[in-house]
């Protein structure tokens, strides 16, 4: 038995990783069960204790920074249960972390957007600092802003979860009213707020030149890029690859071997109209 | 129609757990008659009519209408049979006004698919004009006085033609004039061949108004017949189970308190508890004779009520001062203001000193208050009877004086003593007050203050819904309290009670003090005249005359 635990199953990215991992697990003959705690870390800690008590063969944490629940991870390690993380972080007791580097993702996103703006312009930002990974992207933005003194953040919004798309849509509508002419680009810490921003702009200011970019490669966002919307790019984390790598690593671990590297980075690639082979006017 | 009576109840039985509320109750009602249903508190009267209204299903027995056995499976079917009910505990929707309340459960007049507010109001105004011309129609029930709410209920019951109107103590919070008007309505109904089943503890009224009577005792019918063949004393004797020869204060039937024993709890006999030292025997009947030389215990000089009227008066030790007025005259407002529960301008002084703010400050100085509206202002139904009894002075029940933890044993002892003293009929002290009959709830409220030294007692309708025997007990307690040197201020709508107890009477009319009557000027006629606002000049209180 393999226990897959996450606080964010309903987030698109996390969900995709879990689904791919479950498929791999099925072919590998593991019995994988998923536990979602709806963003609640205290619950997550409790559920880890439960699966330790149930003596599962391995624990897979998805989209969690294990240092947020270090004691429970230690307890699992002490019970001889290997813990691997996907989209997590390195920590004592974690045998393997397969992830993409969130800071790197944030840098890629910022560079792409600033490049598109020609190094000059006003952006608005959607962020969510409560999630350590997403927070890293924000830090990457701050670093990038230092390099581009002509880019200014003129408004920001802490996205409300659940309901990020609707929240971002309303917020963008309001921004369009107050400073619609000044906004040149929308920086979204992940794709869902980017989708919300796209919906607002397409409804309220379809001719504006505002560009949007996000992170994840969320299929809905990709579709919007394909349709020549305002979203011009998303930094796609290769979730399939991550789940794949995690499943491979787990196979080795269950076979008694240690993986060569304790941390594997999955490549991230930028998706733009060009990479999708469409030409927009 | 010729032979079989209009309505017959045969051997009704109804249990609530171990309590037998009805235990073979019979009743025969002729069409167009005014029929009295009397009995002590807890005898089962309200339970009987709730069974008739379909609210309770009887455990045994039959109901026959026009000779046909029927089953009434809910309030709706009782309504359909032309039976109307005014229940004892008033059942209005607090935020609905009189008009909306009157129409609940009826087919509303409509315009298209929507209700027609104007037609609704017109119909209610028409009915109210006959019964209660002063009743405010647009005030939410929550802001009506209990008397006004009672009238609103009566209006509701008379909205549509009926074959039988059942009234459970409709006059208990009405004063003389309004009760008189209700009596006229009852006679009129009877003349229109609508039967009336009338429950009341005011036996004079029963003798005056009703043609026939049925007496219930402990859930069983113990007598029935024509009112003209009996007398007040005869009714009392039947109700309490003593011989005709007995007096009005004859030996009562045993309190059901004992039934506690059946359920495994320790049973207490009344004798034991009456002997409890906390309660000296009440003094023999005493009509408070405040010695004129003494300083007043209570002096009040304050504004009160929505209209902001001003009164000033003083009460000397040993006096029982009655407060009379029509429904809505402001008696309750005045008492609440004195009690510190509603803000008022002005001062009160207790033994010459101003008490602390709010009810707590008054209690600390030995004041006590019995509110009028027991359901909304008196009882917490989620607490048990004994907990309700102990609420006003919880700190008296500490096991250790320094630890604010009440001792259950002490509370139980107090509850049992008080219960026995007032002949409180209940299934057990640990039950909810919601299971008590109306009169017993009233006793509970009064009992709260027994066993405490009292300097000033404010009582609002002390015996509303209380049976004759227990009324005597409560009167006795009030007299004892006065005789011990306290001042008693009593608001009542029962003019008999007023005249029997008061040394002096203050009459309010529309929020103003219009008369102060004592000695020879204290007559029934003078009180009623003043209450209606026809105060002759010499009855004006001295304070107002000089002003």
């Amino acid at each position: 038995d393999v226990a897959v635990l996450t606080p964010y199953q309903s987030s698109v990215a996390t969900n995709q990783m879990i689904n791919v991992f479950q498929d791999k697990a099925k072919t590998a003959g593991w019995n994988a069960t998923v536990v979602d705690t709806r963003g609640d870390m205290g619950q997550l800690a409790s559920r880890i204790e439960d699966v330790v008590a149930a003596k599962v063969a391995a624990i897979v944490l998805v989209s969690v920074d294990p240092t947020q629940i270090q004691d429970q991870v230690n307890a699992a390690a002490a019970a001889g249960i290997p813990v691997i993380t996907i989209d997590g972080a390195k920590a004592p007791g974690v045998v393997l972390n397969v992830t993409s580097d969130n800071f790197e993702l944030g840098t890629k996103l910022s560079d792409f957007l600033f490049d598109k703006l020609g190094g000059k312009g006003n952006i608005v930002k959607f962020f969510y600092s409560a999630h350590p990974g997403v927070h890293q992207r924000e830090l990457a933005l701050d670093a990038a802003l230092k390099k581009y003194p002509d880019i200014k953040v003129i408004a920001d919004h802490y996205v409300v979860v659940p309901g990020p798309i609707d929240d971002a849509r309303k917020t963008t509508e309001n921004w369009l009213k107050s400073q619609g002419d000044q906004i040149d680009a929308v920086w979204a810490a992940w794709d869902e707020p980017a989708i919300g921003a796209q919906l607002a702009i397409e409804a309220d200011k379809p001719d504006s030149k505002i560009i949007i970019a996000g992170i994840d490669g969320n299929p809905q966002a990709v579709e919007m890029i394909k349709a020549c919307g305002h979203i011009k790019g998303t930094v796609s984390q290769d979730f399939d690859a991550m789940a794949d790598l995690a499943a491979e690593g787990l196979t080795q671990i269950l076979a008694g071997k240690t993986p060569e590297k304790a941390e594997i980075y999955a490549p991230a690639k930028l998706i733009t109209p060009e990479t999708l082979g469409v030409t927009c006017p | 129609m010729s032979q079989s009576p209009f309505l017959a109840l045969d051997g009704l039985v109804k249990h609530f757990g171990a309590t037998k509320a009805l235990d073979g109750a019979d009743l025969v009602l002729e069409a167009g008659s005014v029929h009295a249903l009397v009995g002590e508190n807890g005898a089962g009267k309200s339970t009987l009519i709730k069974t008739l209204s379909g609210l309770y299903q009887p455990d045994a027995g039959a109901i026959r209408l026009d000779g046909q056995p029927i089953s009434i499976d809910g309030p709706r079917s009782a309504e359909a049979l032309g039976l109307r009910f005014i229940h004892q505990e008033l059942n209005l929707v607090p935020h609905f006004d009189t008009v909306d309340n009157a129409w609940i459960g009826r087919r509303h007049p409509r315009r298209g698919p929507f209700i027609d507010g104007r037609a609704m109001r017109a119909r209610v105004a028409e009915v109210a004009a006959r019964i209660a011309p002063d009743l405010p129609l647009d005030k939410p029930a929550a802001r009506l006085t209990p008397g006004q709410r009672q009238m609103a209920e009566i209006v509701r019951a008379l909205m549509e033609p009926a074959r039988l109107v059942v009234m459970d103590e409709p006059t208990s919070s009405l004063s003389e004039g309004e009760a008189e008007r209700l009596h006229d309505i009852v006679r009129q109904l009877s003349a229109e061949r609508c039967a009336v089943l009338f429950i009341s503890h005011r036996l004079d009224e029963v003798v005056d108004l009703c043609d026939r009577y049925t007496v219930l005792r402990n859930g069983r019918t113990v007598g029935a017949g024509s009112v003209s063949d009996t007398s007040r004393a005869g009714l009392v004797a039947m109700m309490s189970g003593t011989e005709i020869a007995g007096t009005a204060s004859g030996q009562p039937s045993l309190p059901l308190w004992e039934r506690v024993g059946e359920r495994g709890t320790a049973s207490v006999s009344p004798d034991e508890t009456i002997a409890a030292p906390a309660f000296p025997h009440p003094n023999p009947p005493h009509k408070g004779e405040g010695a004129s030389g003494q300083n007043p215990v209570l002096a009040a000089d304050l504004g009160f009520g929505p209209a902001g009227s001003h009164v000033s008066f003083a009460i000397r030790p040993g006096e029982i001062v009655g407060l009379y007025g029509l429904v809505g005259a402001g008696r309750s407002s005045l008492l609440k203001t004195i009690w510190g529960a509603t803000p008022g301008r002005g001062l009160i002084a207790l033994d010459g000193q101003v008490p602390g703010p709010g009810p707590a400050g008054r209690i600390a100085r030995g004041m006590a208050y019995v509110p009028e509206d027991r359901r909304r202002e008196g009882l917490a139904n989620s607490l048990s009877i004994e907990q309700n009894l102990s609420l006003a002075h919880l700190s008296d029940f500490r096991a250790l004086a320094s630890i604010p933890a009440p001792s259950r044993a002490k509370i139980r002892a107090f509850a049992q003593a008080t219960g026995a003293r007032l002949r409180l009929v209940a299934a057990g002290p640990d039950r909810s007050p919601a299971t008590l009959s109306g009169g017993n709830q009233q006793k509970l409220l009064f009992g709260r203050w027994l066993g405490r030294p009292i300097r000033v007692l404010l009582v609002d309708e002390p015996t509303r819904g209380v049976d004759v025997g227990a009324k005597g007990e409560i009167h006795g307690e009030m007299r004892r309290i006065a005789a011990d040197g306290a001042a008693v201020l009593m608001a009542t709508s029962d003019i008999e009670e007023l005249l029997a107890l008061s040394t002096r009477v203050l009459v309010l009319h529309a929020g103003r003090l219009v008369a102060e009557l004592d000695g020879p000027s204290l007559t029934r006629a003078a009180v009623v005249a003043a209450a209606f606002g026809h105060a002759p000049d010499e009855q004006m209180p001295p304070s107002e005359r000089s002003a």
Binding site: V34, G163, I165, K170, N174 | L55, N91, V93, H95, F114
Partner: protein, 309 residues
Amino acid sequence: MILLRRYGTLFALALIVLVFTIASPQAFGTMSNLINITQQMSLLAIVAIGATLVMVLGEFDLSVSAVVSFAGIAAAALFAAGVPVPVVMIAVLVAAVAMGAISGFLVARYRVPSFIATLAFGTVIGGLTFWISNGATMFSGIPAGFRDLGRGTLAGVPVPTLWLIGTAIVFWLLLDQTEFGRRLYAIGGNREAARLVGLPVRRDMVVAFALCAALAGLAGLLLTARLGSAHPTGGGGYLLQAYAAVFLGMTAFREGEPSVPGTLVGAAIIAVISNGLTILGVPSFLQDLLTGAIILAAVLVRNFGRDGD
């Protein structure tokens, strides 16, 4: 002063609008922004109107957010299976009504406290929603014809606003002008009395819960139409806000009873605050602080000076 107490919350709304207009005449105080606000409040207000019905009974329905999410996901799943728009809408609304009726039945028949009954039943609905969606956001196959029900304008009025106006009128009439509405208020005001006069208490309660769920289902459909995607927890944000709107509305009129106009005022206050603060560019944390503070002030306006307990 009496007027202030009577319509305090309404004044508060006017005052809030006024302050924002002064602070930002070009952005906030424009007609187009005010119309925009009506659109932004529409889904919340529709859910809140449903909650109003149940609150009139003195009960809570905590499953509304679960029903919103469910309706969105169920519709998306049916679209993905190629079911035509009208059939999808009817099927989803019928399912929502059935869910509400079950909650109502548990509350009315077995006297389960509505708080716990609907919370537990909402969890069940949430499980169903996860099952259907596999926990994922669903966005493919949603037809444009359906999407137009939640976007665009008609004669200059945003379509969601039209839905809100329609819902508000129907339910205002229902609550205020029909016998059914009177009965709900009577049951909520004094259930015992309602029973004593023979009102069909159980049936009316079931109907009220069913209507509440129907409106939550409608909101879920409109949300999916508006976003072009359905999220398995997309309705999560509506629960507390809907009840906040109802409670704010209770302080707006009459004897503190829930009412449709009151709820609209409540929802408008919530929508105006978040629109105005965003337009003024107030930072996130301050937005929370101010939102809470303004709502408290709006409620206190009415209660100030009045004597407590």
